[in-house]
Symmetry: C2
Subunit: 91 residues, 2 copies
DNA sequence: CTGTATCCTGAACGATACTG
DNA sequence: CAGTATCGTTCAGGATACAG
């Protein structure tokens, strides 16, 4: 289940961005320049489907959408931290 | 770095098998029937390259190779456990 | 028994263009 | 601004056959 949620080369990086707080689509695109709009959209859709992220559409113009983590999304912090620690360990 | 080591649909399952102790190629193939020889070989090669697994070739016939985790491999336990816990949590 | 080689399919990725 | 549509590329995965 966790593998399905985190599948994709960029998924963990998107989640990492959201740990720092709410982000708009443009914020995420700017923070991850190597990621195309399409893939970012795909990943966000996947994360929403897995209950990790919520989309909130702001009414008005220009269009603005806020993405933030659900409680389940915040619970991923332990997983990603463990991955980070392992990757950072020289031994 | 961790993403690179664990990349692939089956990698974590192979590592999980090795947590239980040393395994031969045939053991792993039997434990993961959905995994073709080629992919198993690919994943093991990847894990060896990342310093997670060691191959030990037994001399003699029939050929027999023992796979086991390095200390770095055992350190992955925390990561995989965290993933498992998250996936198991209903909340 | 333990793999590697080859070929094929499907999914993920990346770029561009376009809509609300 | 925030996406979706489309298309081409790249890569992991599966099947089969074969080599050490």
């Amino acid at each position: 289940m966790t593998l399905r949620a985190l599948r994709g080369r960029w998924t963990t990086l998107v989640v990492r961005e959201l740990f720092a707080g709410e982000r708009t689509f443009g914020d995420l695109a700017a923070a991850l320049p190597a990621l195309s709009d399409k893939v970012l959209s795909d990943r966000l859709g996947q994360l929403v489907a897995c209950g990790v992220v919520v989309r909130v559409r702001e009414p008005g113009w220009p269009s603005r959408v806020r993405y933030s983590l659900t409680s389940r999304g915040h619970a991923l912090r332990g997983v990603l931290d463990a991955m980070w620690v392992w990757g950072a360990a020289a031994t």
